[in-house]
């Protein structure tokens, strides 16, 4: 199977690999997929309470090259976006950017799921989060 140059680039030079402290109140963590399905994505965001903007995004992915590329791309796109803007990222945007073939569309779906799971985790922490600078995300 031939991979697009962008998939190869993300695979060879994955962006924002790593982990954030998942107990941090400003960090949202999304883990989607399952080992027996052959892909698991962990995607994390750190939101600045004052601005409501995603300052940091990190990922780790067990999966094929396209899954790695999809999550790497997602972290690039997340940084600098508000939570609402991030929520609007669609798997089709990832498909188009990476020129994913039909058999790899599920990788982009998983990335979208991971984004949403991370945001939902961040929002769920809102109840216990200390109000900062009067801005509620």
């Amino acid at each position: 199977m031939a991979y697009s140059d962008k998939v190869l680039d993300h695979y060879n030079n994955p962006r924002n690999v790593g982990s954030l402290d998942k107990s941090d109140q400003n960090v949202g963590t999304g883990i989607v997929g399952a080992p027996e399905c052959g892909d698991v994505m962990k995607l994390q965001i750190k939101v600045n309470d004052a601005t409501g903007i995603i300052d940091e995004a990190k990922f780790k992915t067990f999966g094929c090259g396209s899954a790695i590329a999809s999550s790497s791309l997602a972290t690039e796109w997340l940084k600098g976006k508000t939570v609402d803007e991030a929520m609007a990222i669609k798997n089709t945007d990832i498909v188009n950017e990476l020129s994913l073939p039909p058999v790899k569309i599920h990788c982009s779906v998983l990335a979208e799921d991971a984004i949403k799971a991370a945001i939902n985790d961040y929002k769920a922490k809102g109840a216990t989060r200390k109000p900062a600078a009067g801005v509620e995300a």
Partner: protein, 404 residues
Amino acid sequence: MKLPIYLDNHATTPLDPRVLEAMMPYFQDQFGNAASRNHAFGWVAEEAVETGRKQIASLIGANAKEIIFTSGATESTNLAIKGVADMYAERGNHIITAATEHKATLDTCKHLEKRGCRVTFLPVMQDGLVDLAMLREAITEKTILVSIMYANNEIGVIQPVAEIGKICKERGVLFHCDAVQAVGKVPVNVITDNIDLMSISGHKIYGPKGVGALYVRRRNPRVQLTAQIDGGGHERGMRSGTLNVPGIAGLGKACELARKEMAAESVRLAALRDRLKDKLMSALDETYINGSLEHRLPNNLNISFAYVEGESLLMGINDVAVSSGSACTSATLEPSYVLKALGAGDDLAHSSIRFGIGRFNTEEEIDYTADKVISVVKKLRELSPLYEMVKEGIDLTKVQWTGH
């Protein structure tokens, strides 16, 4: 050392130059039809075919008359199983095979199920071997055929073929053996192994693609088959169609080379395989060999690198040609059914790589491959959330996954 390196010798093997040399005349001046009985062109072609038949027979302990030429092992297996099912339909309709067989066998059996046959797909034990007690129990009054492969194409596990043959003989059931991966790699003998029908492929033993053979026992018992291709009645009426003379000359030569060189070659290949295995397993934790190491082809290594997905690993070692049992590398998007049958869990199937070492691989290539795999696995584990979780002490089997 030339890149890329070919380590996928279970899929196909390169043609041995000596085989090509043996084939060349029959593409050129000696182009005759082996069925032409009235002129020298035909006689020369027929002589080449009969030489090929003898060369194959002598590799497997058969008589030349027991060799039927086909287009490849898939056809051989189709002919063996369907041919027996049709010929012996009055005696019974039950066939026994195993879950880890090649698709040529499994799909043929499934086809026969639709035509009214009953098929038992035996599970295998964790090491990939068929349980002989289960086989004995599965045989009924209606059983006409047992089809079990000699060595598996994914995990290289060698079945207790001689014992299986003995059980079949005792019970008066025919035994077909898909020996595609074993012939020319390990000693195969249809007499001592009690095999009645056996599939052989040219391109797995440094011969050409598009040619194969079926061994059909002629005495004790005399096996009969219903032909699956109608036509001119070639090959004792079992397989019509003009013979592929250059292909047969090549298959014959490949068998002759295997007969002469197998003993030394298998020692060399096993040493290379063990070198690769030892390098990988000493450098990387959580690597698992799939299937029995003891009952195994000398040139096979099937290994799972836990927490790393197979296709992403192949992508990282793109100058080494190997294959993976990962779903992402299969047409069906299912992980390897062979590895699943071992019961090790789908996650290890997704993480598996099959190395198939061949006649033309060198120690230098093995070392290059080992280093490359080690560095890519390490890199991908840095990327793997599963590896991170395990290192944190999390039991992955207790995690609530959101499967999709």
